[in-house]
Symmetry: C2
Subunit: 321 residues, 2 copies
């Protein structure tokens, strides 16, 4: 059942022991949203815990400061920014799968697995929705909550650069800055800092960038060998995904990465009317209009060929030469 | 004489034929500020012209749409975002040098060459000041004016990433988005687009990145040969300057570029208390706390050695190992 902002606020207000779940491979939005909500609910006197199937990367640990980490029997289990129950990770899916009463999310692809779903597919981040929810509940937005939410707002919009950024995004960012979000340091950590190993990986990946489809597609590939040579690993590779699309004239940017089993995961980023999710859907994947992904099997050349075929078809459908 | 917001508004209101000057090598802030003000004054029935000693790059031409480009005898000449009369360029300095009645600027280094100076050194951009000035004059902010100002606000803050970004910056950005600024396309053009030649130059430059001073300094070097190999030139090289500082743990990032005469221009970017302008001052250059430059002679190795000596001294002065 789909519910709205007010109903979501009511449901949370009427519950006392609340478990908030973030998705596995946690990012700034799932953790920033869950922790900001936890701080707010906690200040209302409720028992709250944020949990995640994977360890919390150290850059996000500030979000948990001041939250009491005690175990309790949850009366309400809510998944935050989790589009699919599978994204909780195998263990947590097994543990909580059938018991998710509420889901708060902004992914249009949400599988509606929860009893009640507050979904706003036009929202650039779940953090924007949580900000409005906290206001609806008359929660005070403290500086740490503002920082949690600003992390979600900024990371899910590529620091206001992605096409999902709206007037509301800027308004909420301004409001969070006013409430004491540590905007400068958050942006430095998530956008202006590269580990040495990531910088080395980036250099190796950029060397593989090639143009296809009359220079409308740029593609680069990260191999397992590059992880070895750079000292980097898959945890850092997501940050490369936007680079191919930045080339002038490129409508489709692709970052392929070789997985340990020899298959390839492709991250597809598009401009304008070119639908990344359509390209990936035809290859067994999915995602958003401007950002989607899929997994490809066979040799690297076979994977590239499959991708280029669908990319060319999508470009042909939307551009006039 | 320093004047304030209200006095600046009065001065402009009481003038009918106004010439607004941008600095040479024009950027988003000097042009966005001058054109937004021109649109606003023009709507009040005044004759206004924006002029610049250098040609207007095509990415800024949208700012001039709707402005009448007629010649007239100016009653008031105002320099916008021009810290030093020399920055008008030789020809315009000669033509207007002694006649600048008003200067509106945010550079702490402003030479106070104008009769009246409205200077706000804490403002991240002159565009923020122009926004407040237009509001003070009760001017309606049209979508094109909002786009002009958003260009200034975003380009002078590195798209909200530099330490000059304040709560007011986010608030004004939100207000401009609300007034119809084309935020997405502005950010795409100025931050998310690389020419193919620039992408090739970036790749060559990144290959030269090395760490020094116990990994607290990262340095890379662009040679004349790299311009030839990439097809790029000096017009694009400025965009590389922030890259070395992004490496985790690096306090001083340096981009050296070989000039045609064989000398080297160094762009120095620092974090925290490390003063880039002090490093460059000792080598005959200057600039801001976080961003400065100087020119070095001799071989490349001699240039690197001179830089590293001053960088190490500055690091030693401000860090405890």
């Amino acid at each position: 059942m789909r519910i709205d902002l007010r109903e979501t606020a009511e449901l949370l207000k009427n519950s006392d022991n609340i478990l908030l779940l973030s998705h596995a491979h946690p990012d700034g939005d799932t953790l920033g949203s869950a922790t900001a909500l936890a701080h707010g609910l906690s200040a209302m006197g409720k028992k709250v815990k944020v949990d995640c199937g994977d360890p919390i990367p150290k850059d996000f640990s500030f979000m948990f400061e001041g939250l009491v980490n005690e175990d309790f029997e949850p009366e309400l289990i809510a998944a935050i920014d989790v589009a699919d129950i599978k994204l909780l990770g195998k263990e947590y899916e097994g543990r909580y799968g059938g018991n998710i009463e509420l889901c708060i999310d902004h992914h249009g692809s949400n599988m509606l697995y929860a009893d009640k779903v507050y979904l706003e597919a036009d929202s650039a981040s779940t953090a924007e929705m949580i900000y409005l929810l906290l206001k609806e509940m008359n929660a005070e937005i403290t500086p740490v909550m503002a920082s949690c939410l600003f992390t979600g707002v900024s990371t899910d919009t590529g620091c206001f650069r992605f096409s999902n950024t709206t007037v509301r995004t800027f308004e909420i960012a301004a409001e969070l800055a006013r409430r004491g979000a540590d905007t400068y340091n958050i942006i430095q950590v998530f956008f202006e800092t590269k580990t040495k190993t990531f910088a080395a990986l980036e250099r190796l990946a950029l060397e593989t960038m090639r143009l296809y489809c009359s220079d409308k597609c740029a593609l680069m590939c990260v191999t397992q060998d590059m992880y070895k040579r750079s000292g980097s690993d898959e945890s850092e590779v997501d940050r490369l995904s936007n680079l191919p699309r930045q080339i002038e004239g490129v409508l489709v940017g692709v970052t392929m990465r070789e997985l340990k089993d020899g298959s390839f995961k492709a991250s597809v980023r598009t401009h304008g009317d070119i639908d990344a999710s359509e390209i990936c859907r035809r290859l067994g994947g999915g995602g958003h209009m401007g950002a989607a992904g899929c997994t490809l099997y066979g040799t690297k050349q076979q994977a590239v060929n499959s991708l280029l075929k669908e990319i060319q078809a999508e470009i042909d459908a939307f551009t006039i030469d």
